[in-house]
């Protein structure tokens, strides 16, 4: 029952009607529907999420009242990260759905209590809903406990404005996933299934296509998740902010999978010392944090390499002080995206013998015709020229809050695009596997 199936939307309608029809027990309805959704979608593997809920809920309470907070927090971290590592890195184990996401969410809750930033939630029901909230449980975004629990204290109202914005986000997410990501996948997958038989031009185009596919797949899912939550009245921040217009590696991580990068900054980078312990220690902390980011995606060496690569880029950026003017900014976009897509090549190719060949083909482009260079140059020029207008225009909000006549036109175009533009064979979400 994933967001690219009709069942998801039938379920959404049922839950929305149930919430709109009741004043009391709304949290209970949401919790039951979230657990039912997880139970069905995860193929009945529900023990891991239940254990995380109970460990962090009671762990949070004990951390709050005890003087030996360090020990309690250590035990909670060990239990949750241990379970995550067991399922993620032990060969032969089935990875429970969404474990990477809800583990981080619940760890954030425990750490915030430890730091005194929040008090433990009294209601187990509300806390269980926070961890298992079905729009975000399978593939994020990683929401913060304070944000969610504060909103869950208010009566859930299904309002027309939230409904309009939610449906807008959902349709945009479906266009990104079904129309762009799935169609690009049919070009990308055969190339990376056997990359050695393709020349440089194909590898470069497939890498670019993969970068766009990944953004549309994950960004699309995030939009659907945020749209679903918005229908219920929960407002969460966007998880992506035009990452391919970033001017530097650091700017990229402020725009890509924002919830994860912020979580790593707040709960790993800063506790390690952040940038407060001198330049060398800062660089080490950056590399370690990004390696952890890579390992979060999976236990294979290419994710480790990808994380380390981004850590090194962030270190280099700190060393090189870039001028702040428009030309430097545009040049920065071009260079940053080149480096980011190089990183996606490492991310995508999981066979080390293939990676060396692919990297050489990416770094030394051949077989491009004059027409390719002309078309590519024009596209890059246009993107850079209109960068500001695209990057800083909150067009999703504009559509979601537009007049009904305009919104009707948008909805008609979006639905036709989704229907006619999506391939017959539906593919699963890429980030579902992390």
């Amino acid at each position: 029952m994933l967001p690219n199936n009709i069942d998801y939307y039938i379920f959404l309608c049922a839950v929305t009607i149930a919430l709109a029809a009741t004043r009391n027990f709304q949290i209970h309805i949401l919790l039951i529907s979230s657990l039912a959704y997880y139970f069905i979608t995860s193929q009945f593997v529900i023990f891991p999420i239940i254990s995380v809920i109970l460990i962090t809920y009671y762990g949070g309470h004990f951390i709050y009242i005890t003087r030996k907070k360090n020990i309690l927090l250590g035990l909670v971290l060990f239990a949750v990260i241990g379970q995550l590592a067991f399922y993620k890195y032990l060969p032969g184990t089935l990875l429970p759905l969404g474990i990477s996401y809800y583990s981080f969410m619940s760890l954030g809750y425990a750490i915030d209590i430890y730091r005194g930033k929040m008090q433990p939630e009294d209601s187990l029901i509300k806390y269980a809903l926070f961890v298992s909230f079905y729009p975000v449980v399978t593939s994020g975004p990683i929401i913060r406990a304070q944000n969610f629990l504060a909103q869950s204290n208010v009566r859930i109202k299904i309002t027309p404005s939230n409904l309009q914005m939610g449906v807008t986000l959902i349709t945009i997410g479906l266009i990104m996933k079904l129309v762009f990501a799935d169609n690009l996948g049919s070009f990308v997958d055969p190339v990376f299934a056997d990359p050695l038989k393709y020349h440089s031009r194909k590898i470069i185009l497939a890498t670019i296509a993969f970068g766009i596919q990944l953004y549309c797949d994950f960004g699309g899912y995030s939009c659907i998740a945020l749209g679903t939550a918005r229908i219920f009245g929960f407002v969460f921040p966007m998880n992506f902010n035009n990452p391919y217009f970033a001017t530097s590696p650091q700017d990229f991580w402020h725009r890509w999978n924002i919830s994860l990068s912020c979580w790593l900054r707040d709960y790993l980078y800063i506790p390690l010392g952040g940038n407060r312990k001198g330049a060398l220690r800062t660089h080490i902390n950056l590399v370690l944090t990004m390696i952890a980011c890579g390992l979060w995606h999976g236990a294979t060496w290419n994710y480790l390499l990808w994380g380390g690569y981004h850590g090194v880029l962030l270190c280099i950026q700190r060393i090189i002080h870039l001028p702040e003017n428009r030309m430097a900014s545009l040049a920065g976009v071009f260079v940053t995206q080149y480096l980011m897509f190089l990183g996606w090549l490492i991310f995508r190719v999981d066979d080390i013998s293939n990676l060396a060949s692919c990297l050489s083909k990416f770094l030394v482009p051949t077989a491009f015709s004059h027409r390719d260079l002309l078309v590519g140059g024009v596209m890059i020029f246009l993107l850079l020229f209109f960068r500001d207008r695209i990057a800083y225009n909150n067009w999703i909000y504009q559509i979601g809050s537009s007049r009904l006549s305009y919104w009707f036109a948008y909805l008609l175009v979006a639905m036709n695009l989704i229907y006619w533009g999506s391939p017959v064979k539906v593919t699963k979400f890429i980030y579902l596997g992390f």
Partner: protein
């Protein structure tokens, strides 16, 4: 946002958008996609053929790619003085379990004779059925397929879902043809307006199902192909009934019950491939094909290696030999067939 908007406005908009989308779906499917499929899609053409061919005295050759390459229906027609209309309905990868989906349509089209060209691979145990292949062959014609209760039991749920889509699923399945369909529609429009004089692919001529076009006679036979096929274990028959065997028996029963004369032929194989089949497999195979009671001809050793492109697909010389033999068989059987018919 308009301050006066409320739930009723949003619901009205959503319902209106869905209705308009549905109208567009129906309109584009019937005006653009269906004509394209009828003009170009092979499997749609098979069912069009069954439904629209009103000729009498028809002979159908059904089988897999060995039949496609091996039988020249035009020459057969000529050699039997056009007393029958002969059609080569071979499909690559065909098995009884594929063909039985068309059985109702075959019976309704009332052929006089059906020549069932069998090979060892026809009875392979494919309970792990190839769903994409099944869907690509029958996915577009699910509204024209009728399965009897015996046939339905031979398929699992996933296979039945591929064969029997509901109308909405079929509509959604067809949408992938919107771009080529639009291209054809545009090309035909330009042609009709005499803007261009190039005839595009897909003019509305029905397929003739006479002969399969092929490239060149291949006189070099690869032993490796024969060995490879023999080692994969697909074509070992151990005497147990599988769904293909049950389907074959049911097909023959239905055809005969409907007054259709059935001839069963064991198609020629490349001797370099044929030698790999065990005696047990050969015995079990012959037991199956002869148990139907229909006239049976064993042509396995008819052709020499030089008449094949590979393990079983004939080249132009092989096709001549096989077609000549088919003519001989038909001349012997036509009088029996006319008595039955």
């Amino acid at each position: 946002m308009d301050e006066k908007a409320d739930f009723s406005d949003l619901i009205f908009i959503a319902v209106a958008a869905i209705i308009i989308l549905y109208i567009i779906m129906l309109a584009l499917t019937s005006a653009v996609i269906d004509p394209y499929l009828h003009a170009t899609n092979r499997y749609v053409n098979y069912f069009d053929f069954y439904e629209n061919n009103n000729k009498t005295n028809k002979i159908y050759f059904i089988g897999n790619s060995y039949t496609e390459y091996g039988v020249n229906a035009s020459i057969i027609e000529h050699e039997i003085n056009y007393s029958y209309n002969v059609y080569n309905l071979g499909v690559g990868g065909d098995t009884p379990k594929h063909r039985i989906v068309e059985l109702d349509s075959i019976v309704r089209s009332r052929p006089a004779i059906v020549v069932m060209d069998m090979t060892y691979g026809s009875f392979r145990n494919d309970d792990q059925f190839n769903y994409p292949q099944l869907e690509s062959r029958f996915g577009l014609v699910t509204d024209r397929i009728k399965l009897d209760s015996i046939t339905k039991r031979l398929f699992n749920t996933t296979e039945l879902n591929c064969i029997q889509k509901n109308n909405l699923s079929l509509l959604a399945y067809k949408r992938q043809y919107i771009i080529p369909g639009s291209r054809l529609a545009l090309a035909n429009l330009l042609l009709s307006l005499k803007i261009t004089n190039i005839a595009f692919l897909g003019a509305s001529m029905p397929r003739e199902f006479k002969y399969k076009s092929y490239d060149f006679p291949n006189l070099v036979v690869s032993n490796k192909t024969a060995e490879q096929y023999s080692k994969n274990g697909h074509y070992k028959l151990n005497g147990e009934d599988n769904n293909n065997i049950k389907t074959f028996r049911h097909m023959v029963d239905v055809l005969v019950e409907n007054g259709i004369y059935v001839i069963i032929i064991n198609m020629p194989l490349n001797p370099k491939y044929s030698m790999w089949f065990t005696n047990e497999t050969r015995e079990n195979y012959h037991r199956i094909v002869t148990s139907s009671g229909c006239p049976y001809y064993d042509l396995e050793g008819l052709c020499v290696p030089m008449e094949f492109r590979d393990h079983g697909h004939s080249n132009v010389f092989g096709q001549q030999n096989i077609t000549r033999k088919m003519i001989e068989i038909l001349k012997m059987e036509m009088s029996n067939a006319s008595k039955q018919h």
